[in-house]
Amino acid sequence: MDYSFDINSLDDLYQEVILDHYQRPRNKGVLTNPDISSKGFNPFCGDEIILSIKLDSKGKTKCILFDGQGCSISQASASMLTELLSNKNLDELKSISYSFRAMMRGESLSSGEMSLIEGLEVLEGVRKFPIRIKCALLAWAALEDGIEEYSVKVLKKEP
């Protein structure tokens, strides 16, 4: 990249929805007895996300909370994650996470994939600020780690 002349719009980054989630985070907190629990940490900036998930008897997400501290992007992305992922099974969670990653990598998504991540498109503006992509992905990386750990430990199968 050439940083000499590129001008990026801060409006793309700080969309209203994002700042809303940052300032009024949904589902913030920590579950006492979660089925899945996982932490994401970015050593370079110190941002932190803790996810805790309770599954119902069918293996679907019953309750997802996040906790943590960090910039608007990491916190908003986590908040949006908790909203979008309620009442989904683990395979669905993974599909959504992979689709979101694909979007953040700039890949073109199928309409099926697009519909999976409905509402998250507002985060696409982050792509213009490459250093901030990690912020947007922090909660999702934690989610994937949590599912993997759960699969290995609880379901006793390789993810």
Binding site: S4, D6, Y14, L19, D20, Q23, G46, D47, C71, R132
Partner: protein, 416 residues
């Protein structure tokens, strides 16, 4: 008074733009920019007398060796070392501290011995000692940091006691800006027979530093923070201590006689410089020292006091959401100002300022325990100054911070 306009002309990078806006570089505590004289010294080395040092009888090698050792003389002289044999070239402050940990502390410390640090240490002056503690059984103690951001010396006589073998503290904090009373600490340490190491990464570049005056035993600093190239730095060791130290890395250059099964060590400082050194960077550091000395370290310090004072005053005009860390007394603070606002997270401040061409640092500044456990935030934003920064740059900083506040305040208003 510094002629800042003239100085700025010496730094090619200061005329570049970022997103079409003039660069305002306020990340000097992370690394400084380089004057043309330093860049040209490196180019000249590679174009005219590049060669390996110390082992050649040909002209290039003799010329390179002369320049390399002349640079060592300059750097030793710059920090007031008694002579150049007690100045070891290292990659930077981090390697300097690791060298002391490996070559002095591990062979000398044992269970129950105490190493005294402070709560405001950079990871580089913390984790090597955690490792030493783990290996030797020594115990880490910490001088607390007060609310104001200075060392709390109230219980110092308990903290520096007969078990204390080493006091290792930062001369100037890279987060709080605090200048610590290291000479007092040195005396207290010596009174109980302990040694003292100074992390001088943030002092040597910014103020007159004299190792004999400070009565320290070890002092480490980085070239890249003092107008010099990356990949080099200095470690001063008091001569009487140097003689007792074990080798560090091993290989060529640091040995005298070698058989298949044994080796004897070369004289210091060479004993501590295994392998081909960073020749161009060492010579470049010599040029940086020349540049700083041509300005005068007192002048450097005066300029930074003035601009820091100005910045502290101007920054007060920001919304009350902003918290500023570190002492207000300018005589005990260097040119780094950390701040935090709940409204706009430091990381977001960083991005918004970047769009204005203003480079500040955000995060834990490699001092996670201080930032998370004492300041109790996950990150701060930090502006840090050097000889080429102007009051008008401070004004731009304040303006951009106001813009950031506006973006988040407007959203906030909408969102409630």
């Amino acid at each position: 008074m510094l002629d800042i306009k003239a100085i700025r002309k010496d730094f090619p990078i200061l005329s570049r733009t970022v997103y079409g806006k003039p660069l305002v570089y306020l990340d000097n505590a992370a690394t400084s920019q380089k004057p043309s004289s330093v860049i040209e010294t490196i180019t000249n080395y590679y174009q005219n007398y590049n060669s390996n040092v110390h082992r050649g009888v040909h002209a290039l090698s003799m010329e390179a060796t002369e320049h390399y050792e002349a640079a060592r003389e300059k750097v030793a002289n710059f920090i007031g070392a008694p002579d150049s044999t007690c100045l070891i070239f290292v990659r930077g402050t981090t390697e300097g501290i690791n060298l002391v940990a490996s070559s002095w502390a591990i062979p000398n410390l044992g269970p129950g011995d105490e190493i005294l640090l402070s709560e405001m240490e950079h990871h580089s002056n913390l984790i090597p000692w955690q490792r030493v503690a783990q290996i030797t059984g020594a115990v880490l103690k910490f001088i607390p940091v007060t609310e104001e951001g200075v060392l709390d010396l109230e219980n110092l006589s308990a903290l520096i006691n007969n078990r204390t073998k080493l006091v290792s503290v930062t001369h100037v904090s890279n987060v709080l800006g605090t200048i610590n009373p290291v000479k007092e600490l040195a005396r207290k340490a010596h009174n109980v027979g302990a040694l003292i190491m100074l992390d001088a990464a943030q002092s040597v570049p910014h103020m007159p530093v004299n190792v004999q005056d400070l009565e320290c035993d070890f002092l480490a600093f980085s070239s890249h923070k003092m107008l010099g190239p990356t990949g080099i730095g200095g470690l001063y060791v008091r001569p009487s201590v140097l003689k007792t130290m074990q080798p560090f890395q091993s290989g060529g250059e640091m040995v005298k006689e070698v058989t298949f099964t044994s080796a004897s060590w070369n004289d210091h400082p060479f004993q501590f410089e295994a392998g081909t050194p960073s020749i161009s960077a060492s010579i470049g550091l010599g040029a940086a020292v020349d540049y700083l000395q041509s300005i005068g370290m007192d002048e450097v310090r005066n300029h930074e006091m003035a601009i820091t004072q100005y910045a502290l005053e101007e920054l007060k005009h920001l919304s009350e959401d902003f918290i500023f860390y570190g002492p207000n007394d300018i005589s005990i603070r260097g040119g780094a100002i950390s701040f935090y606002s709940d409204l706009v997270h430091p990381h977001d401040l960083g991005t918004i300022l970047d769009q204005e061409g203003i480079a500040i640092r955000t995060g834990h500044h490699c001092a996670m325990p201080l930032v998370r456990e004492r300041l109790k935030v996950s990150a701060t934003a930090r502006a840090s100054f050097y000889i080429y920064n102007t009051e008008s740059e401070v004004d731009q900083l304040v303006k951009a911070l106001k813009k950031a506040t506006r973006i988040f305040t407007n959203a906030y208003k909408k969102n409630i």
